[in-house]
């Protein structure tokens, strides 16, 4: 591998996610995308770094803020975009939208819009793996806001008690909608909570994709080799509003600007340039590739079809297979 190849790959991944979501924001203004749209902009290093640590047959459980995870996990941007357009060609046939991306081929288990709701599910996936002696890792992403939910507590305890192969990834972006961490938790050191379940836990700079990857690899390997559940607190920040309806009364412009100084993409790009591992042409090329990929995704979505209304009541129950 040439110097910096892997880093360039990570940069590329993050850039894909960033540009994809910037386009989503535009498309939301154009009313191509509707409903709730939660952007991950600023947090790309987390999903990108963690996914590097996973194997194809590992499982991923995410939240409503999951475009980045879906792309980093290898889902096709066209299929994801089509989902957000509500098209039949979308990963969930347009039934789910932005908050409910699913993909069985990459074991991407959603896309859950109930805060904390994915945690017990991840525990169960881990339980199935353990009962079948499979060395797979189930990785579950959730925000620091979810930590206050009872489901978090119950899921953490169960995973630790039963020693299940689950990697808990807490994306601490400091806010749950408009509620700052210190107004939501009496103890703001989230890793201390993991300790209260006897679960190994590390704080990670979630703006540094290499640090994230490194921590995730170590944690995932430990989980995979029977070390029981692990917990990562990934400290990050969302630049954009919580969703498209948020007046952002709860934080200052300055705070946002300050975090942007640590932008995961810009930081890695500068690092690579400083290390002479990224030329201007390479960067421009990367941007171009990404833009083309996204253009294609949008075209794919645009060209997609609306599901027939006659199919409305399908997928409530499974359909009989075979003759």
């Amino acid at each position: 591998m040439s110097t910096g190849e892997h880093e360039r790959y990570l940069l590329h991944q993050m850039l894909r996610i960033r540009r994809f979501e910037e386009r989503c924001a535009q498309l939301y203004q154009q009313e191509k995308i509707r409903g709730f749209l939660h952007l991950y902009i600023g947090e790309e290093a987390v999903a990108t770094g963690v996914m590097e640590a996973l194997q194809p047959d590992d499982a991923v459980v995410a939240t409503y803020r999951e475009h980045g995870h879906a792309l980093a996990r290898g889902m096709d941007p066209g299929v994801v975009m089509a989902e957000m357009f509500g098209k039949l060609e979308g990963c969930s046939r347009g039934r789910g939208g932005s908050m409910h991306l699913f993909d069985s081929s990459t074991r991407f288990y959603g896309g859950n819009a109930i805060v904390g709701g994915g945690l017990p599910l991840a525990v169960g996936l881990g339980l199935a793996d353990k009962m079948n002696h499979r060395s797979r890792v189930t990785t579950v992403f959730f925000g620091e806001g979810a930590v206050a939910e009872g489901e978090f507590h119950e899921a953490m305890n169960l995973a630790a008690l039963w020693d299940l192969p689950v990697l808990f990834c807490c994306e601490n972006n400091l806010y749950a909608m408009g509620t700052a961490l210190e107004r939501s938790e009496s103890q703001t050191h989230i890793t201390l909570k993991a300790a209260s379940y006897e679960m190994p836990a590390w704080e990670v700079d979630g703006m540094d994709v290499l640090a994230v990857e490194d921590a995730a690899r170590k944690a995932a390997e430990s989980v995979r080799s029977g070390g029981g559940p692990h917990f990562l607190e990934l400290r990050t920040y969302r630049y954009r509003a919580h969703s498209m309806f948020d007046p952002e009364l709860y934080r200052s412009r300055e705070e946002i600007e300050e975090w942007k100084q640590h932008d995961p993409i810009e930081m890695l790009r500068r690092r690579l340039i400083d290390d002479a591992a990224l030329s201007d042409e390479e960067w421009t090329g990367m941007e171009k590739t990404v833009d083309e990929e996204i253009d294609e995704a949008v075209e794919f979505a645009e060209a997609g079809n609306w599901e027939s209304v006659e199919d409305l009541t399908r997928f409530v129950y499974s359909e009989a297979v075979g003759p």
């Binding site: 509707r34 347009g94 789910g96 819009a113 749950a176 509620t179 107004r183 709860y250 209304v309």
Partner: protein, 332 residues
């Protein structure tokens, strides 16, 4: 004297609800609002916007994401002499608080042999129609209306949004208030009918003789539209707004049946086992010989609400469905 918005002729449903809360908090120190993002964020549907500034963070209290605990804390605070308004963002998340609402709030007076009543108001947004997909589109009013010990309100007009909260807060027992999210932007005049506001009666929103359209909440505007459509065909529809889902105003329901002899129930809840079922059952028990046609129900399809707009529209009750069923009953 209460302060009213008098510089404008109209207000939105959202503003009406905000005015109602603010007025209650001005008049009664025991009243406070608590819930996720009611303060700094201004409320997920901006209902409480500006209230933090007026009342401060103790009385407009942001909570962590802990539906069970903060609803339960509302019960405890009510027992401790306060008059809490607990906002659960939406009915979808209220599933996490159901144990407290059903096993504690609803049963407490009874289990204690009448010693402890729970003067609590729980508000929540409900309903679909904004492409929020399956987990954010429930209409579970019917579940709540099934539970003895609860009172369940569904203001469907600006007037009711403005005036129903006060009697709800004065009620000694737990009251659940459903606000259809699609109504918040509805704008209209506010009649100063506060004295007439009750939390016991259904109201006829339009008089008619040919068919009764029974509905509530988010389906009320659609139903009124359908009634206007029907008028064009010369069918005069009686529109009954239930307003109160528990206890039901049986008299009003039976009266409209007697008036028109034909009934369509319109409800955004899933059809099977929803509120619409109880209305139909009540009539089948108590006024069956009054009927000149089978009872019709226009409800949500039996499917989780899909994201795609055309699919969501197809899943929900719409004006043409109401019109079609009403026509069939009148014609048949």
């Amino acid at each position: 004297m209460t302060q009213l918005m008098t510089d404008r002729e109209t207000m939105t449903y959202r503003e009406a609800m905000r005015e109602a809360m603010s007025e209650a908090m001005r008049e009664d120190e025991r009243v406070f609002l608590m819930g996720e993002d009611v303060g700094r964020y201004g409320g997920c549907y901006a209902v409480s916007k500006g209230m933090l500034e007026e009342f401060g963070p103790e009385r407009v209290r942001d909570t962590p994401l802990s539906e069970s605990a903060f609803v339960g804390a509302g019960i405890g605070a009510a027992l401790g002499g306060m008059r809490p308004i607990v906002e659960v963002m939406t009915v979808n998340f209220s599933l996490l608080a159901l144990d407290q609402i059903v096993n504690t709030a609803a049963l407490y007076l009874h289990m204690s042999g009448g010693q402890f009543n729970v003067p609590l108001v729980v508000r929540m947004a409900t309903g679909a129609g904004r492409q929020l997909a399956a987990q954010h589109s429930h209409s579970l009013e019917g579940w709540y209306a099934h539970v003895p010990g609860l009172k369940v309100l569904a203001p469907g007009t600006i007037e009711d949004a403005r005036w129903m909260l006060k009697p709800a807060l004065e009620d000694p027992d737990p009251v659940i208030v459903f606000e259809h999210a699609g109504l918040y932007n509805m704008e209209g005049e506010l009649p100063d009918s506060r004295d007439g506001a009750d939390i016991t009666s259904a109201k006829v929103r339009r008089r008619g003789d040919d068919v009764s359209l029974i509905t509530y909440g988010g389906s009320l505007p659609k139903t009124l539209e359908a009634a206007a459509e029907l008028e064009k065909d010369g069918i005069s529809a009686d529109v009954l707004d239930l307003r109160v889902l528990r206890p039901l105003d049986r008299t009003a329901i039976l009266e409209t049946v007697v008036r028109t002899h034909r009934v369509v129930v319109i409800d955004e809840g899933w059809k099977t086992g929803g509120i619409s079922a109880e209305i139909a059952a009540l009539i089948a028990e108590e006024a069956i010989w009054e009927l000149d046609a089978p009872i019709g129900r226009v409800c949500s399809a039996e499917v989780p609400i899909p994201y795609a707009r055309h699919m969501e529209e197809a899943a929900l009750p719409q004006v043409p469905n109401v019109v079609a069923v009403a026509r069939r009953l009148v014609g048949g």
